[in-house]
């Protein structure tokens, strides 16, 4: 039995996620879509907090809701005039979109329901058995080279990011 607070918070973030996702892909104004995306990202961040991964939640809000959203807004402002509305979506395409998205969702939800590992443990129990992950643990894991430690991916992603910077520069550079 989870606490009522948890349940309420859950419903808020769940509804926010679903609603704003939906709005983000249906609104005709691109800036609004970005805003709805921001709400979704925030909701996901909150979900991380609720699931007990504070660091991850923080990163989500900082990097995603902070960094990436800024990128989006810049991009939108660079490429759009204010109050630009994107054209109407033709019904043909919408039907396809609904079919595809719907079938994907149906298959996956069915699959999830029939998952053999599914157990009805409540969030409370899981939080208790695992507990929170401290910053120290995270720090150790990210700089260690043993099993379940992530030094190598950490180094590797730095190369990736460097490459993306170079790539971005190449693309953006005039001439």
């Amino acid at each position: 039995m989870d606490s009522v607070g948890n349940i309420i918070v859950y419903f808020i973030i769940a509804i926010a996620m679903i609603f704003f996702s939906f709005k983000a892909v249906t609104t005709r104004k691109i800036l609004r879509a970005a805003t709805y995306l921001l709400f979704v990202l925030l909701a996901v961040g909150v979900a991380y907090f609720q699931l007990g991964y504070q660091f991850l939640g923080a990163v989500q809000i900082a990097v995603y809701a902070g960094g990436i959203m800024v990128l989006f807004v810049f991009a939108i402002l660079l490429t759009h005039k204010p109050n630009d509305k994107s054209g109407l979506i033709d019904s043909h395409r919408r039907a396809w979109g609904i079919t595809l998205a719907g079938s994907a969702a149906v298959v996956l939800i069915f699959a999830l329901f029939y998952m053999p590992l599914l157990h009805g443990a409540s969030l409370m129990e899981c939080m208790q058995s695992g507990g929170e992950i401290t910053m120290k643990e995270i720090g150790t894991a990210f700089t260690g080279s043993d099993r379940f430690q992530y030094l190598l991916p950490f180094e590797a992603i730095s190369v990736l990011l460097l490459a993306c910077i170079i790539g971005g520069v190449t693309i953006a550079r005039k001439g």
Binding site: A111, S145, R173
Partner: protein, 495 residues
């Protein structure tokens, strides 16, 4: 913490080292210094390649089993390096052109980083490292695809590539998240292999497998995850296209094999054998059917490479040591054959700007040597002896039929029938060059020195790699000496 473990990653270190040298040189040298960038990068890379061929792989698992460089991975890296080296030679003229000269340093850097990413892909034994490798191998490529800034096609190709790439990585991540549910809390391949067992097949696992196939299938351009391929190949600069078509594909194929045999070997005949069965048939057939109509050489090569990917994946569906060895050999042969074709295409494009198959009509009258090499490449791709392509094809078919199942025999039959279709369109190129009565549209020209070297290398490879058995022997020994791969095949693939 044991940072000395980095010392075992010799191939990666070599590539990163070259990357750093090029990066620093590019950043700090003056206009004059830039001139020697190309030869420097090429020579350094050649030395690095030789080093990778020579330095024996340790085979030990480092970072807690997250990374391993055994003989097989070392071999595939060496093979990829050969491909990249030829691409470097081919691109030598292109990078000097006005349009890209100022960005040629970036070209080499991005090339090396993507290669580094591919190294990680093939050596990764943990999904996190694998994903990072995959992304390193695909994101900078988008920048490379967009390299011809004055060409609209290049932009279109880039946007198509990046959008599909991101989409596929989202799908792959979703798939992996479901895999994670079955993994017992660890994303190490060996742990997943232990935790996924056959009794607990479920829809979610199937969905996970399908999504992972889709995710990697994007890189391999398996049908129906291939649709970006043709457009991107057509729009991208030719050097990048050739790189995309062979190197990136080769790495992905190898990684695919490792993942599906090492992680999911236990659900081989329950699940992914049949998925791959369908996907391979589709890939080979659809690739061929599209290739028939193509007139643009790069687009043509795109569809040809799609169908070739299907053949490569036959090695994966064989799912044993012989399959992997044959697949590596196939990749190697595919590298030289396809790059041989691209060498001709890019030489012609660089010198005359012509890309249409109709422009190749009567080519033998003005450029007999190029026509000859193109013919060899086409024959090799079609699997005609005594060229290397024949051997790679028949060896991979041999490995597939070795499982002894009727279904796989039928798969080989379908693949063989498709070779006829593929022969048809490869012969169309030959026909254009040799048989078409038209007056040649392409005048006689002198190809550049580097291009000539690459042409000779590819030609020699096409002729000798099949007749000389050492390459295959090398791949086979590499696989057989990789104890972890062999062990996982022994344990999980039930016959």
């Amino acid at each position: 913490m044991d940072y000395s473990q980095f010392g075992s990653m010799i191939p990666e270190l070599i590539v990163l080292g070259i990357f750093m040298v090029v990066f620093l040189f590019d950043t700090f040298s003056g206009e004059k210094g830039k001139k020697i960038l190309t030869p420097m990068a090429t020579i350094l890379f050649l030395l690095g390649t030789i080093a990778i061929w020579i330095v024996p792989a340790s085979g030990e698992e480092i970072f807690g089993g997250m990374y391993v460089n055994n003989t097989a991975t070392n071999a595939i890296k060496a093979i990829l390096n050969v491909g990249v080296f030829i691409v470097l030679l081919q691109s030598a003229k292109w990078v000097q052109s006005d349009e890209v000269a100022i960005r040629k340093g970036e070209f080499y850097e991005l090339l090396l980083v993507t290669l580094f990413g591919m190294y990680l892909m093939v050596s990764a034994r943990h999904f996190l490292l694998f994903i990072i490798g995959l992304e390193s191998a695909s994101l900078p490529l988008a920048a490379m695809v967009a390299f011809n800034k004055r060409h609209y096609e290049s932009h279109e190709a880039a946007i198509k590539y990046i959008m599909t790439a991101v989409f596929s990585s989202a799908i792959l991540l979703t798939g992996l998240s479901f895999v994670y549910a079955f993994s017992g809390g660890s994303l190490y391949f060996s742990d997943i292999a232990v935790n996924i067992n056959r009794g607990e097949m479920s829809g979610l696992l199937l969905a996970a497998l399908a999504f992972v196939i889709a995710g990697i299938g994007f890189k391999l351009s398996l049908v129906p995850f291939h649709l970006w391929t043709a457009d991107v190949y057509e729009g991208a600069p030719t050097a990048v296209t050739s790189y995309l078509s062979v190197v990136s594909k080769g790495a992905a194929a190898f990684a695919f094999f490792i993942i599906f045999v090492q992680c999911f070997g236990s659900v081989y005949s329950d699940a992914w054998e049949w998925m791959m069965y369908a996907v391979i048939i589709l890939t080979i057939t659809v690739g061929n059917l599209f290739a028939i109509r193509q007139k643009n050489m790069k687009r043509f090569m795109a569809f040809s490479s799609i169908s070739q990917a299907g053949y490569i994946m036959l090695g994966a569906i064989a799912a044993d040591g012989l399959g992997l060895a044959s697949m590596m050999f196939y990749i190697f042969v595919y590298v030289v054959s396809n790059l041989g074709a691209f060498a001709v295409i890019s030489t012609i494009e660089d010198n005359t700007g012509k890309l249409s198959m109709d422009d190749y009509n009567g080519l033998h009258k003005t450029n007999p040597k190029l026509s000859f090499l193109m013919t060899l490449a086409m024959f090799s791709l079609a699997g005609i002896p005594p060229f290397a392509g024949f051997f790679s094809k028949i060896l991979i078919f041999t490995s597939v039929t070795g499982t002894g199942s009727w279904a796989l025999y039928m798969l080989v039959l379908i693949a063989l029938i498709n070779t006829i279709i593929s022969l048809y369109y490869y012969l169309l190129v030959v026909k254009a060059m040799w048989i078409s009565p038209d007056e040649p549209k392409i005048g006689n020209f002198e190809s550049g020195r580097c291009q000539r070297v690459s042409l000779v290398l590819c030609g020699a490879g096409i002729i000798f790699f099949g007749l000389v058995p050492y390459i295959y022997q090398y791949c086979y020994d590499a696989v057989m000496n990789s104890s972890d791969i062999i062990a996982s095949i022994m344990v999980f693939v039930f016959r």
